[in-house]
Amino acid sequence: MVEFGGWDMPVQYPAGILAEVKAVRKATGVFDVSHMGRLYLSGPKATDFLDWVLTGSASTLRVGRARYCMICNEKGGVIDDTIFYRLSEDRYLLIPNAGNRSAVVAWFQRWIDEKFSPGCTMEDVTVTTGLIAFQGPGTLETIDQVADTPLSGMRPFSWTESAIQGATVFVGRTGYTGEDGFELLVQGNDVVKVWTALTDSGSVPCGLGARDVLRLEAGLPLHGHEIDEKTTPIEAGLDRFVRFDKDYVGAAVLKDQQENGVQRRLVGFTLPGRSAPRAGYNLLHQGETIGAVTSGSYSPTLDTSIGMGYVLERYVESDTVLDLDLRGRIVQVNVTALPFYTRPRRT
């Protein structure tokens, strides 16, 4: 167990990280991600509020759908990345990261008080509910076996309600592994029941270690590594989750960066072998430090080592060869388009 964002979390279950990653890529894995935040935003001004604090659009999101985007400060720095679900015309569910929940709550409350009150209220239900991520190609078959209603036909980034073993479940067709799957929001006293139904159906319990490898293979950023308050979504290559046609906190900086460019950008890179680049290791070109690693791991799915990091803009092209200072040993790495892994399309 490790401390993570104020919660005690398992890095791995008995299967071990490599077996857990394989389970998610080939079959089904189940993660207790109850440490992540759950916030409801409600009221006639909730849509306007979210349009003001999110890089993505709430007003164009249809009821029943979900969207991934960033919460930025005035300088365009990323306070958090999040998925939010539109529950009704004037009610939303938003999922911040565990370690950022209090920062997001404070930030939201500030803007509600300043611009959207009365008319928008926030409710934090993190500690009274649980969140289970159910991920992998096998989830489609299993979810229909365990849930009272068929769910395998749900569209990606949609949500619905169902029941498992008598427990009401809010089901999102979302995830953070690069695999197909679902995220299940349940009342706190139903978490064990739903978890057990999934593990009894053969799903492998997976910890934070596997989750980190999976998201890295899928090229997904982790706040505190690839993105933080001093990094913008443009630098992080997340411009497809940023609107440039609405006014919101940080919009001016992001628009300027999109039009005029940035000095450094996030890249993916691979290196042969299994020795992993770790956060903070320097990336060099002809002996000169031109960037640093933000995340890295051995990738069991690709059987090579992979990493992400920030480098000066002129080194971001795919196939650029850079040097990595691996604890004093210099090894060559190849800049690679993200993601490293894309799941096979179903036929």
């Binding site: 791995q12 990280i17 077996a19 020795s275 051995y298």
Partner: protein
Amino acid sequence: MSPDDRRYTKEHEWVMIEDAAAKSAVAGITDFAQDQLGDIVFFELPKVGDSLTHLGKMGEVESVKAVSDLFSPIDGVVTEINEKLLDHPELVNQDPFGEGWLIKATMTDISQLDGLMSASDYDAFTAGPQ
């Protein structure tokens, strides 16, 4: 239970005499160590002929979770490394006291083992507060 035919360090390495007359020994990491590391993906081991110093760094072990230094349990000179680990580091997860040995060495002084922990001492050490 750790096997009682060898000695242990607080850095979770084991060492066992193979031939006392030749002062030859074999060394590895313990079951406790491999369990703490999780899935091992990479070893950096010393080369044959390298000198070893008791509790000096002799290489690195990398798991999916983290990188850790390997410390020599003895003074001596490396005579062989376990080449199988280069392609199959998971052998150490599967059989840390057997197939997953790391190095063989000629010890400077085999009485050095007397200063290391016995199996029961080591098991008590790892059972204690972490």
